[in-house]
């Protein structure tokens, strides 16, 4: 058969996601072991239940159910009257029972939707389902991979951490959309207080990507199910960040398009994203369809969740908050976006706005603070313990104790670089605004010492006043307000 070369621009990309997020609960999903594992010794956060010891039984953690209901409400999903748990049967050394308790027929969230912005446009992706399940343990291979290692150690500290698997429809048309979706999803989860992005392994993404003929994509972006089934797709695993998702899928998109352009067939396979090398690698060439032999987990009774939906409230979500910031504080779109980028930023902004002027708060949080953090590759979380100091800095500006210029160019930067408090920096650098008397005497001095400039002033030469202002500023070490000095000079010269 002759190879059928295809022009790249005639091809369209179709991506669907399975996103696993760890839910932040105090205890594991089916036992009372703490989930706060950190770097603790392996197998120190375990009990008969999460070790899967013979005879142990799961008891559902209501905190995990609450978190799942919150997710359901946030993505506007249907939460059924009743939800049930199933066993997913497969053998793997990190799985204590060699089955995973998950949800199958009646997941806790069904048919939701998440809106996000990408390159200035609003997009919405359908969430097919979101369900609860338990995390397996983790493996440490000594001297190679699972197939080549001398031996493998199992740590069950992570086993039983509550996970939510969120499955989207194949609604994504570009890797950049996936990144924007994941950013929005984690933002919402953080707003709900059920997700910690800084935790290792808190986000794990599997993505299905296939390439179809561009003509198969309808005006609204929809692609026919049959077309998708005919297209060979790859499942890309081991993605653990927004940025990684975009890179992995961009790589995979190019790889598949190149293959098609050269008339080659794209293998239907599972590929592993190698973050350090920036490539996807084939995991198993001919993978047979897995049969997980799902059936009901009789140890967990049917859970009625219909009334939970009414009972559980969720906080204001990013979109609503952004809108409120625009109307309530009169912020422009850019500032409102920046200030709602994370819940922590938004909360801090509102705290500052309440004490000082909202305009001043917006400038200091959105422009100065976030700008300087960004420049240093720092996150808001890195300074969350120093919000008091940042508020003090804003207060120094608001009460005219230091100039905006000094606050911005000296105090904030030194705070971030050296970790000192604003008052210490002001003291050390002598940035305190000079008192009115000192300025007044500097003004008189400047006039006395520069009779030529005074004469020029009276002759109507515009530059003379600026010269005199500069003299006063020098005398006061830059801590006087130039506008004030200008006025004082004029009063003195005219008087």
């Amino acid at each position: 058969m002759t190879a059928q070369a295809v022009e790249t621009e005639d091809l369209a990309t179709v991506i669907g996601l399975e996103v696993h997020v760890q839910l932040e609960t105090d205890t594991k999903i089916f036992c009372s072991c703490s989930t706060d594992v950190g770097d603790d010794e392996p197998n120190t956060h375990t009990c008969p239940v999460c070790l899967g010891l013979p005879g142990a039984l799961p008891v559902l953690n209501e905190g995990a159910v609450e978190a799942a209901v919150k997710v359901g409400k946030a993505i506007d999903a249907t939460i059924p009257e009743e939800t049930t748990f199933h066993r997913k049967n497969y053998y793997y050394p990190d799985l204590p029972k060699n089955f995973q308790i998950t949800q199958y027929g009646a997941p806790i969230c069904q048919e939701g939707e998440l809106e996000f912005s990408v390159e200035g446009e609003r997009r919405a992706v359908d969430v097919r389902r979101a369900h609860l399940e338990e995390d397996p343990g983790s493996l440490q291979h000594k001297g190679g991979s699972i197939d080549t290692a001398d031996y493998t150690l199992v740590d069950y500290n992570r086993a039983g951490t509550p996970l939510m698997e969120i499955v989207t429809k194949p609604d994504f048309r570009a890797p950049s959309e996936v990144r924007a979706f994941l950013a929005k999803l984690t933002e919402v989860l953080e707003y709900l207080g059920i997700f910690d992005a800084t935790r290792d392994g808190s986000l794990r993404v599997d993505a299905n990507l296939s390439i179809v003929d561009g003509s198969e994509v309808a005006e609204d972006g929809a692609v026919d199910r049959d077309v998708l089934e005919d297209a060979n797709r790859t499942e890309v695993k081991n993605i653990s960040s927004h940025k990684g998702a975009e890179k992995a899928l961009a790589y995979e998109e190019t790889r598949q398009k190149n293959a098609i352009q050269r008339g080659r067939v794209v293998e239907q396979e599972t590929r592993h994203w190698d973050e350090s090398k920036g490539v996807t690698l084939s995991m198993r060439s001919k993978e047979e369809e897995k049969d997980y032999r799902y059936f009901r987990e009789a140890d967990l009774p049917v859970l009625r969740v219909s009334d939970w939906k009414e009972r559980i409230d969720i906080p204001e979500l990013p979109d609503a908050r952004r809108e409120r910031f625009r109307t309530e504080y009169g912020l422009d779109d850019e500032s409102a976006d920046k200030l709602t980028s994370t819940k922590e930023v938004a909360d801090f902004f509102e705290d500052v706005a309440e004490q000082f002027d909202p305009g001043l708060a917006a400038t200091w949080v959105a422009d100065e603070l976030l700008g300087e953090l960004n420049y240093r590759d720092m996150q808001i979380a890195d300074v969350s313990g120093r919000f008091d100091e940042i508020e003090r800095l804003v207060e120094l500006v608001a009460t005219d104790e230091i100039t905006t210029k000094n606050a911005r160019e000296t105090v904030l930067r030194e705070m971030l670089d050296d970790g000192d408090s604003p008052d210490d920096i002001v003291e050390r650098e002598g940035l305190g605004k000079t008192s009115g008397d000192e300025i007044q005497s500097a003004v008189v001095e400047a006039i006395d010492e520069n009779p030529d400039a005074v004469e020029d002033y009276h002759d109507g030469e515009g530059g003379a006043i600026n010269f005199l202002v500069g003299q006063v500023m020098q005398k006061t070490g830059g801590s006087a307000d130039p506008g004030d000095v200008n006025q004082l000079l004029r009063d003195e010269l005219e008087g």
Partner: protein, 430 residues
């Protein structure tokens, strides 16, 4: 204190509290019920060296009630058998019928009680495993309503079907032991509070053993007598006559669904077993290491060596019944049959206080007989399995003996959480 009939796997004594209702009693515990610090083998080479770090809830309750546990009793491997011959620790012989099996899978528990080597015992009943050995050894056994007794710490064979149940010489003693182990447990989400179903004195089982059957209405499902041994049938009707003489009456019941119970039971039990026993992969239990090949091959070798023939065949059949393409034909069909059996038995119990049948359709088999014909062994479960499928309580009480002096048991089935009804009725006979 090993026994000639091989009733115990382990005879380490576990002392209970110094007072409580069972302070003078020894209560043997089946070896699939976890005992902290004392090995719990499930009758399997796979768990030969497994020592649980925790007590099953029922063991905690025995200890709190002052009972002494004299040892862990022999059983069919993982409960898979009706004769206690599939144990990796050798078969148990029936102490009251030499050369015959004690029934199973809780054969060791019934045998040590029948032989007087323990005052009472705990068994587990997945498809008749408490009642069959009670019937064959001439003692009393109760299979509680699903959700009456905690399963926490009981090594699962088929977790949607099984319950822990007492075995004792008399109904009153069995009732007393049930009273100790029954009731809600935060570690088992399937246990329900019987007082919500039956009022404040729901757990007063000892008080119910008053032998008062005046006015008792007994339903007799004729399907359960169809295939029964002639002598067994004879003893059964004599026992019904006895109850009639004490003021009870009976009527015949047609329960077509019961003809499908054995098949529905085995498909369900084997499917669940294939999943419940998956954890025994050589990583933490059984033989491990030293095998060639990757982890998957190592798992397979550990399972091949650690499990006995009956366990392997049930795991394979259960895996098959759950597999894509067969799930609907076997597993789903079995669940449909289960729903049908549940509904029809409950309907029959609307018109009767209890349902009665021979516990076992046959007298105790000779040792070795059923190992050659597994189907015969499976069919011996015809009368006990419907009760597990329907989540109901049942008691087996000694009804008499065959001409050869082999024990025959009478089974009485009650409505959900109707333990007091079957205890009251059973106490009129034993």
């Amino acid at each position: 204190m090993s026994t000639e009939y091989n009733g115990y796997i382990t005879t380490e004594r576990i002392e209970g509290a110094t007072d409580g209702p069972l302070v003078d009693a020894t209560v043997a515990v089946k070896d699939n019920i976890s005992t902290e610090g004392v090995r719990t083998t499930c009758g399997s080479a796979m768990l030969e060296d497994y020592v649980p770090p925790y007590d099953a809830t029922v063991v905690e309750r025995l200890k709190a009630a002052g009972a002494t546990i004299p040892g862990k009793t022999n059983m069919d491997e993982f409960g898979m058998g009706t004769t206690t011959e599939t144990s990796a620790f050798g078969p148990t012989e029936n102490p009251v019928a030499e050369g015959h099996v004690p029934g199973g899978s809780s054969g060791g528990s019934a045998a040590v009680v029948a032989a007087g080597d323990a005052d009472m015992a705990l068994g587990t009943d997945t498809g008749g495993s408490v009642r069959a050995p009670a019937a064959f050894c001439g003692v009393v056994g109760i299979k509680p309503t699903y959700g009456l007794v905690s399963r926490y710490g009981v090594v699962a064979y088929a977790n949607s079907l099984e319950q822990v149940g007492p075995i004792a010489p008399t109904v009153e003693e069995a009732a007393q032991l049930l009273e100790v182990i029954a009731g809600p447990d935060p570690s088992d989400a399937t246990v329900r509070d019987a007082t919500e179903e039956r009022g404040a004195d729901a757990y007063d089982y000892t008080g119910a053993a008053d032998g008062d059957v005046d006015g008792l209405d007994i339903g007799i499902p004729m399907e359960l007598l169809d295939g029964a041994d002639e002598q067994v049938t004879e003893v059964f009707w004599d026992a019904i006559d006895d109850l009639e003489a004490q003021g009870a009456s009976y009527h015949e019941v047609d329960l077509e669904c019961l003809r499908y119970a054995v098949e529905a039971y085995y498909v369900t039990a084997m499917s669940e077993a294939s999943s419940n026993l998956a954890r025994f992969d050589g990583v933490r239990y059984g033989q491990s290491g030293g095998y060639d090949g990757n982890w998957n091959e190592t798992f397979a070798r550990a399972r091949e060596e650690g499990f006995g023939e009956e366990v392997k065949s049930r795991i394979l059949l259960g895996t098959y019944a759950l597999s894509a393409g067969y799930h609907d034909k076997y597993y789903k069909k079995a669940q449909d049959a289960r729903a049908w059996i549940k509904r029809d038995i409950n309907d029959a119990l609307d018109d009767a206080d209890v349902l009665a049948s021979p516990t076992m359709p046959v007298p105790p088999m000779e040792m070795g007989e059923s190992l050659e014909d597994p189907l015969k062994m499976y069919l011996a479960d015809a009368n006990t399995t419907p009760v597990n499928l329907a989540n109901l309580p049942a008691i087996s009480v000694p009804a008499g003996e065959t001409g050869d002096g082999l024990p025959v048991g009478l089974q009485l089935v009650g409505p959900a959480f109707g333990e007091k009804e079957i205890i009251r009725a059973g106490s009129a006979l034993a």
